[in-house]
């Protein structure tokens, strides 16, 4: 049965870089799809008109192409339901979840299980990322064709690099048959060793074993060389170093089909935070130096960086409350990314809102080859409504995520989410935004197409 509910969002500022829209416009949604975008659209009878709260910005739904949702295997850290609740509360209409589960998502049955559980949650869309190798152990290719057929939109051994250059070459060639990218975690394992923090002054003074920047740069260089060799697309995850930025910039100039992402925490934090050994500053790649952060900001500004992705990595507080070198790597980011990026990137003057929408919506959709990233006529109505001036105090105790391991607790940021709409249905509405209730009332009951 087709849902013919018609809703018009009026009075918002629409930012849709793919279609060149950046200004006041109405958005008409019918049957869960965008059917018109423009100024002063005529209102037909039977259409519910919703006024977007003042200064609200209507964007194509944000897509986080790098999250760890932990289910199955680590449900004490996060489940698909809690992770997706966190996603929509953070303004994300879709996420790509890494195969860092137990069992690993290296076969079609696991992909289907994840898709089924995600559908049950009925919140954000989930695009599984399959493993490159069986068990993510870097030995044998996973059955990538079957993973693709079951719904995987990319392959990655997430959290680990594909260590063998030959295997990486074959993975790139093989995945290109299905038009899906290989997402690599750039880290030379022999050089990184058992490091736990960026190799530099602070880790050295604190007696923490170092992860040298060169370990990332070496694999970034290798991967762009292999992408050049094979002509297959490679996506470099969560880059953190100026060396990797140089490698990607140079490769893109040569026309190599490489793309890359950066996390909000690498754009805002540096390794001086390690003082005090707070494990909420322990992640891989680690927080780097100011010169690296500057290079990442350059990359965000000049287009070297395609996407901002959170690398949302939930852990139980008991696991993080441990000796620094024994605590697991990773921080969560789904519920803070939009606020951090609006405050530290848009309001700070590094990028425009339109560029942020490219980084967090249009480009992830393009790289993964998934719907979304635009408000073009006919696309599913996946929409993120931003409140760019909302003042948000990050309160981990209020997170939808099961985990609390954020480095941003207590931060006061300008910018937040008003509502998250998936397939024309409001799956999250922020009651802290005046007037947001109308969105909820009109759109929470809409069925997905």
């Amino acid at each position: 049965m087709v849902d013919e509910t018609r809703v018009m969002l009026i009075g918002g500022h629409v930012v849709d870089p793919v279609n060149g829209v950046n200004g006041p416009a109405d958005v008409l949604i019918a049957g869960g799809r965008v059917t018109a975008v423009g100024r002063d659209l005529p209102v037909e009878s039977g259409t519910t008109v919703i006024e977007v709260p003042p200064h609200g910005v209507v964007c194509p739904g944000f897509i986080d192409m790098h999250v760890h949702l932990r289910e199955p295997g680590y449900e004490h850290k996060e489940t698909l339901a809690t992770g997706l609740a966190a996603a929509v509360a953070g303004g994300f209409t879709a996420v790509a979840c890494m195969p860092t589960t137990t069992p690993v998502n290296d076969h079609a049955a696991m992909t289907r299980l994840i898709c089924g559980k995600a559908a049950d949650a009925g919140l954000a869309r989930v695009y599984p990322v399959g493993a490159v190798t069986k068990g993510r152990d870097g030995e044998q290719l996973a059955e990538i064709g079957e993973l693709y057929a079951a719904g995987c939109v990319a392959i990655s051994d997430a959290g680990r690099p594909v260590a063998s250059a030959l295997l990486m070459r074959r993975a790139l060639e093989y995945a290109s048959m299905f038009g899906i990218p290989v997402i690599d975690h750039c880290e030379d394992p022999s050089l990184a060793g058992d490091g736990v923090a960026h190799e530099g002054y602070h880790a050295t003074a604190l007696g923490l074993r170092g992860l040298p920047a060169a370990a990332e740069e070496i694999v970034a260089q290798r991967d762009v060389a292999l992408s050049g060799l094979t002509g297959a697309g490679v996506h470099l995850a969560h880059l953190s170093t100026r060396g990797a930025m140089r490698a990607v910039r140079e490769a893109k100039a040569r026309g190599v089909p490489v793309s890359c992402e950066v996390t909000p925490h690498h754009l805002t934090l540096t390794d001086d935070r390690l003082v005090g050994y707070d494990t909420n500053y322990k992640m891989n790649p680690p927080l780097r130096e100011a010169a690296d952060l500057e290079a990442l900001l350059d990359g965000v500004r000049d287009g070297t960086i395609d996407c901002i992705a959170t690398d949302h990595a939930p852990h139980h507080y008991d696991e993080k409350r441990a000796e620094f070198d024994r605590a697991p790597f990773g921080v969560i980011g789904l519920e803070t990314a939009v606020s951090v990026c609006l405050d530290r990137l848009v309001h700070a003057g590094h990028v425009t809102l339109a560029r942020l929408v490219e980084l967090m919506s249009a480009n992830p959709a393009r790289i993964l080859g998934v719907p979304g990233g635009t408000l073009g006529v006919g696309v599913p109505a996946d929409i993120t409504i931003l409140a760019p001036d909302l003042v948000v105090t990050v309160d981990p105790s209020a997170f939808r995520s099961l985990a609390r391991n954020t480095p941003f607790g207590g931060w006061v940021l300008r910018g937040g989410v008003t509502a998250t709409i998936v397939g024309g249905r409001a799956v999250y509405v922020n009651t802290a935004v005046d007037g947001a209730g109308a969105v909820m009332n009109a759109m929470s009951g809409v069925r997905e197409p």
Binding site: A205, G207, R209, R326
Partner: protein, 324 residues
């Protein structure tokens, strides 16, 4: 400059001004005045060790837990002797005999100990920052007795006491630290302390065991041992851990000794009154020739003796109730 520290009389408890810090986790927790206060107090504590009855009642009724997750002979014994000389009630926990072997986390171990209301916990652990974790979980005062590659503050204090006794000062001395700098917590504590007290520090070791960003530590690095020893007032050798060869840091102990071992011949370049120090345990014939370890310049056993006095001073000053 320091307010001339009050004369310390452990018996009478005409107590000096205590330390501002709750815990001693890093030399960085101490001001220059506080470092001097600890050294001055340690001088007074040394006298206790010369009595026939080596005991004062300063910490009577206080409970001190020695929580050692790493093997230690010198440091654990030194702390325990110090505690007994101050009349504290001491409890020793070693990792092998503790619930750690049953899988208990450090956090749980500490919270259980805290429930028994100790006054001071002395902790040695293989992870950098373990002392910070412990201190954050309990009201007891925490003394770091070595945390991974991070720091070993009481070692640096006893080294400073030894240097001061031998040289009469620390300011302006040329101190050369030689060996495995990268993995050494003794080095990290010493460089902070020696800087605070105005020594000129040069360091020497294989390029593989140098620290990245050496300039920010304010030390002069060299890979030439002759250059490092030239004119030095103090030569401090660091232990080479034999398992380091697995990380490709140097090809063999033989070659290490050839390039960096301290021999009587090399020592001739030092100041004629130079002293030789080593935090122990020594690898004779690796970082130090036996003739140097046992020779006239060696103050290695004085370091051990001073260790008891320094730990008495730290325990005494940290336990001062007035700062609670």
């Amino acid at each position: 400059m320091p307010p001339a520290a009050d004369p310390v009389t452990p018996d009478g408890l005409a107590a000096p001004v205590g330390l501002r810090t709750k815990d001693l986790l890093s030399i960085g927790d101490l001001s220059v005045d506080e470092i001097r206060l600890i050294l001055d107090t340690a001088e007074a504590m040394k006298e206790v060790g010369t009595r026939s009855i080596k005991k004062v009642p300063a910490l009577r009724g206080r409970t001190v837990v020695n929580l050692f997750f790493e093997a230690s002979t010198r440091t654990r014994t030194s702390f325990e002797v110090a505690q007994k000389r101050l009349s504290a009630d001491t409890v020793n926990i070693a990792a092998s005999g503790s619930s750690v072997v049953k899988g208990e986390t450090l956090a749980d171990t500490v919270r259980n100990l805290e429930a028994m209301a100790p006054d001071i916990i002395v902790v040695r652990h293989q992870s950098a920052g373990a002392g910070h974790l412990v201190a954050g979980l309990c009201r007891a005062r925490v003394i770091n007795a070595g945390d991974g590659m991070h720091e070993h503050p009481t070692q640096a204090l006893l080294d400073a006491l030894t240097i001061r006794q031998r040289k009469g000062r620390i300011e302006g001395l040329k101190v050369s630290i030689i060996g495995d700098l990268l993995h050494s917590r003794v080095f990290r504590s010493n460089v902070l302390l020696l800087h605070a007290l105005g020594a000129e520090v040069s360091v020497c070791g294989p390029a593989t065991m140098m620290l990245p960003d050496m300039a920010r530590f304010g030390v002069r690095p060299t890979t030439s041992i002759d250059e490092a020893v030239e004119g030095a007032d103090v030569v401090m050798l660091l232990r080479i851990q034999l398992e380091r060869m697995g990380g490709y840091f140097f090809p063999s102990l033989r070659e290490y000794f050839q390039l960096f071992g301290m021999t009587p011949e090399r020592l001739e370049r030092a100041h004629p009154d130079a002293i030789i120090m080593h935090p122990g345990p020594m690898n004779r014939g690796v970082e130090i020739a036996p003739e140097v370890a046992d020779g006239p310049y060696s103050v290695i056993l004085e370091q051990v003796a001073n260790g008891v006095a320094v730990r008495m001073a730290v325990l005494y000053l940290l336990a001062d109730e007035r700062q609670a």
